[in-house]
């Protein structure tokens, strides 16, 4: 359903240097699939996600969703950013209703929809709080609710749990899986954590260091709910780590 074909992207610095960020990326994603991107820092995985979101344009290649090429940001794709991205001047509820306002959904209706999604992430009590009153994990949960409220086909997540502590992170991963299993979105998730990738994904895409190419794709054939400490999970972790380790070494050298 999401089809990435021959994507290339080069950045031009002000001094005129060219940096090849993405080179010949091809990937087919099935409907309702959970795919993780993993790779060394600066390998272009965020750039690819931003291209899919419509925030950047590739130099060449096409991305289609259900056969429709991407031309810019659109309601069929939701995105959760790595940084905290809630609008600080809006309450939690008003953050979630934002995209519905843009679609001109009537007020009562959009607040009902927003409340349902707030309940989904377990934050109903905080509907009238402002973002600065929330913890980091809560902010990202609201951001997820805000991205889901449009009912997108694809949910793009750029290291959404990178800045929260380990315990909260585990809980957020479980909640995300619950939402994903309920709503069955196609989910694209960037992470730096091999553990996170093995726990969450149907498939894990490993990127090479700059220029970003797809190095290897691992299919995680484990039933859910997964056991983080099982022998099988460890095996996947090991093969992912060794694939990734070579790339990180390259990136540092």
């Amino acid at each position: 359903m999401l089809s990435i074909k021959n994507i290339n992207k080069t950045y031009h610095s002000e001094e005129g240097d060219e940096v090849l960020a993405l080179s010949d990326i091809n990937l087919e994603m099935k409907n309702k699939e959970f795919v993780c991107f993993i790779g060394p820092s600066g390998c272009g995985k965020t750039t690819l996600l931003r291209i899919i979101a419509g925030l950047e344009t590739p130099d060449s290649g096409t991305i289609t969703i259900h056969g429709e090429p991407i031309k810019g940001p659109g309601p069929d794709r939701g995105m959760v950013f790595q940084e905290y991205s809630l609008f600080p001047w809006r309450t939690v509820l008003k953050n979630i209703t934002f995209s519905l306002e843009m679609k001109k959904v009537p007020k009562g209706q959009r607040e009902d929809i927003a409340r349902q999604h707030l309940e989904l992430v377990g934050l109903s009590k905080f509907a009238d709080s402002y973002p600065h009153e929330l913890s980091g994990g809560m902010k990202q949960r609201v951001a997820i609710a805000r991205a889901l409220v449009n009912d997108p086909n694809v949910l793009l997540m750029d290291e959404p749990f990178g800045a929260v502590d380990a315990q909260t992170r585990n809980r957020l991963q479980q909640e995300l899986l619950k939402i994903w299993e309920r709503d069955k979105k196609t989910l694209l998730f960037i992470t730096h954590s091999v553990d996170e990738a093995v726990y969450l994904a149907d498939r894990v895409v490993v990127f090479t260091s700059r220029p970003g190419r797809i190095k290897e794709i691992f299919k995680i054939d484990l039933p859910r709910p997964r056991d983080r400490t099982s022998v099988d999970a460890n095996m996947y972790r090991e093969s992912l780590l060794s694939s990734l380790g070579a790339e990180i070494k390259n990136a540092i050298d």
Partner: protein, 259 residues
């Protein structure tokens, strides 16, 4: 919290003010020349007299009238200019050199033209105040828009807010509001200084600034000092009121002190 308790918490501050007043009174009595330094007590009795005659009230209203004209215009002009400059790079490049040429001119240098253009009216005074207040508002609005976090703009785009006008109104403007509030606050400070100067040029026979000049010519320095203190008090109250409005209403979403 009752008033007594509130005052007790402010013992140090109140002692400090009381000490300053006592020293003032003693020094004034030692010098004993009203023209050089009127005593505190003479200023208090001058103040009471002015209040009873209703003079002070009328003067304050006159000055505030100029102030509102000037600041109101500065807000109406400054925020749109700052917005356009902060958001559109080409407008910034086109307008910035002009602003940077006019901005360093002290507002009081405009008084002659203000009178030529507007006559000896409240609009002449308002214009000088406008000149003083508009640049801090433009520059802070500009900075506020320039510093709109990229992630908020991109969040907006992903959520369906893609037209420039929508991004400005729904994302950049609210994000810039704290900076705009700071600009207005600074602008009001400069504007109030301009009130006094503008009134020296006899745009009216009322007004706090004009009365300083007037009573100075009559050598009533206790009244001059009274008007000076009233000018300070009103500026203080305007600033406090503005801060209260900003913190309680306008920017309630921000944590802690805003401006």
């Amino acid at each position: 919290m009752d008033i007594g308790q509130g005052l007790r918490k402010r013992t140090l501050e109140l002692t400090s003010i009381a000490t300053a007043i006592v020293i003032w009174e003693i020094v004034a009595r030692i010098i004993n020349i009203k023209y050089i330094l009127p005593s505190f007590t003479s200023v208090v009795s001058a103040f009471i007299g002015l209040v009873q005659e209703g003079e002070l009230y009328r003067d304050a209203l006159t000055s505030l009238n100029y102030f509102v004209i000037g600041i109101g215009l500065a807000i109406l002009v400054g925020i749109p200019i700052g917005t356009l400059m902060g958001w559109f790079k080409s407008i910034d490049r086109a307008v910035d050199p002009i602003i940077e040429m006019i901005r360093p001119i002290p507002p009081l240098a405009w008084i002659t033209f203000a009178i030529i253009w507007f006559g000896l009216t409240k609009y002449a005074a308002g214009f000088v105040i406008f000149i003083g207040a508009v640049f801090p508002i433009i520059i802070n609005t500009y900075t506020g828009f320039k510093n709109t976090p990229r992630v908020l703009v991109e969040s907006g785009k992903v959520l369906g807010c893609v037209r420039n006008i929508d991004i400005i109104y729904r994302i950049a403007l609210p994000s810039a509001l704290p900076a705009i509030a700071t600009g207005i606050r600074v602008g009001m400070g400069v504007g109030w200084m301009c009130v006094v100067a503008a009134e020296f040029f006899a745009v009216s026979t009322y007004g706090l600034g004009w009365k300083i000049w007037h009573w100075n010519n009559l050598h009533h320095m206790d009244i001059v000092l009274t008007y000076m203190l009233v000018l300070g008090m009103i500026a203080f109250m305007i600033d406090r009121l503005f801060r209260y409005l900003v913190e309680e209403w306008w920017l309630k979403w921000q944590s802690g002190v805003v401006v």
